[in-house]
């Protein structure tokens, strides 16, 4: 009987449809990235030539520089944002009630609530007005800012589930505040911190709209470099890069998924 009320005819098919819609374009691009032909419309047999082209072709230096920028920005932004978010999460969930708590909560989540294009416009205006030359630093600052809520949410969720008794016990045994944090609380929070970090990393790596507004002369990240190429038409080397980025994303999600599973099983 309980199986009966859970079952609705057609819902399974809708799920299949949903997955087909989500995956069809990605699969098509992956398949065509192995196309040996220079034209994207005709199939010229299986080949890795476009992957070779990504690393050695005429556009390779541009993509390499862009990939390096994307990677370093994502690493630094995710690290800084995670540190800020961890501190904020501890204060929000361990320091008791305080005036301005709901305001702080709103502030942390503000980057999620304001549309991305508005953040982009506002940030560009800000940097122009205070006279900061747009470039690597401006991208980094913008990325740190919008990564904070993405890092915060998993950390706070994890922290909520940790009993205060653990730290209380440590403190009762004369552990200093620092010891209580680094030896007791942080290890317990770690799965949340790692998933927050990975989330922030991916969000930074993926960002196009804001980066496009605040990047300076000669400064490209992978998404803006790809956008620049794609505007002139989808070329096979773009499909190869896309497939590589797809693989990187898949690795990260898998990591984050596994960390969460392990985390759920521990205390």
């Amino acid at each position: 009987m309980s199986r009966g009320v859970r079952h609705y005819p057609g819902f399974g098919w809708m799920t299949v449809l949903c997955l087909v819609i989500l995956y069809a374009p990605l699969i098509v691009v992956t398949v065509y990235s192995f196309n040996g032909s220079t034209s994207i419309t005709t199939w010229g047999g299986f080949s890795l030539r476009w992957y070779v082209d990504v690393f050695t072709g005429p556009e390779a230096p541009r993509f390499k520089a862009a990939a390096w920028n994307s990677l370093t920005i994502a690493l630094i932004a995710a690290t800084v944002a995670t540190a800020i978010a961890t501190a904020a999460a501890v204060a929000m969930h361990r320091a008791g009630g305080f005036r301005g708590r709901s305001l702080t909560f709103a502030l942390i989540n503000l980057p999620l609530m304001v549309p991305e294009i508005v953040v982009a416009v506002a940030t560009l205006i800000f940097f122009t007005m205070v006279g900061i030359t747009t470039g690597y630093m401006t991208i980094l600052i913008a990325h740190i800012t919008f990564c904070i809520p993405f890092a915060y949410l998993p950390i706070a969720a994890r922290l909520q589930g940790i009993d205060e008794g653990y730290e209380q016990a440590a403190r009762d045994l004369y552990a200093g505040r620092g010891q209580a944090f680094f030896l007791v609380l942080l290890p317990l929070m770690l799965p949340g911190v790692i998933s927050g970090y990975l989330l922030a990393f991916i969000i930074s790596l993926d960002d196009f709209i804001i980066t496009n507004f605040v990047k300076g002369a000669g400064m490209e990240t992978l998404p803006t470099a790809i956008f620049g190429s794609v505007k002139q038409g989808i070329k096979p080397n773009i499909m190869a890069i896309s497939t590589l980025m797809l693989a990187v994303s898949a690795v990260f999600v898998t990591l984050s998924y596994l960390v969460n599973r392990v985390g759920r099983k521990s205390p």
């Binding site: 005429p58 520089a65 030359t133 747009t134 002369a217 000669g218 505007k231 002139q232």
Partner: protein, 341 residues
Amino acid sequence: MKRLLTTAAALVLAGPAFAEGELKVYHWFEYIPQELVDKFTAETGITVTIDTYDSNEAMLASLKAGRMGQYDVAVPGDYMVQIMAGEGLLDTFAPADLPNFGNIAPQWLDVPFDPGRQSSIPYQWGSTSFSVNRDVYQGDIGTLAMIFDPPEELKGKINVLDSQGEVLTLASLYMGIPQCNTDREQLKALSDMLVAAKAHWASFGSDTAKDVLVSGDAAAGMIYNGFSAKARAEGANVEYAYPKEGFVVWMDNVVLLKDAPNRDNALAFMNFLLDPENAAAVTNYAAYTAGVTGVAPFLDAAIAESPENNPPADAPAGSFIEVCDAETQKLYDAIWTNLKK
């Protein structure tokens, strides 16, 4: 990879500081072969970074939006050189700064948009009209009506350049009215004509202009002559038209920007581009025509003899885009904004 890591690390640590051997170029998309940039780097040790834009107006807007002082050189079209000079965005140099200055073709030396070539050197020149896919439409294409009042076969399959100067000038030529017109009735008619024509257009795009013709997403498109030649070379059965109402001719110029962080390197780059062999390399890549003497021995025959570069004998003369005064320009800006909105 190791070298890349160290340079990148140095870049990260140094922040936005400009190293000695750098050059920042603000250039049109797909307009300089990478091999030529590599050759310049090999000869001078100067590393070149290139950012691209897809219309003169977008380049100007971006420079004015806080990008001045970040680039050394840009490549504006003729009328834009004049506008930028008027806005005080250009620096000047002496002919002696460029050993190859004497290579500039005589007809491009004392040009109205930069008398005496004080801030600019010729890059390439060419024309703008449109191309039609001959598989889709076989009739006579020698008229701008193909874009502004298209035949049934082309309706809904037209790409238009995302460039105010070119679109409004071609539209004025089609209607037979002068540029920098202040006659409100005629301008209203121009605006109405464009809005009606827009219903038949599929897209606005300059950097996509070639690809949409090659991929078949568009059957006709406003385009630069060399870009159309490249579309044909990539297998599209397109014919570039020299319409009877007229067409736009332009010259792109390398200009020295004010507050250029690497002025000496910029001058070295400009001098490099005035070398006939290098100018020919650009021509062979972009399929336009160089503004430098002595390029002939270095040119590919297919480029020199292409139908896109050699108008038929009965083609009318092309028109340069004129620079209007600010009051008149406001009217044209209003028409463009109204069209794009």
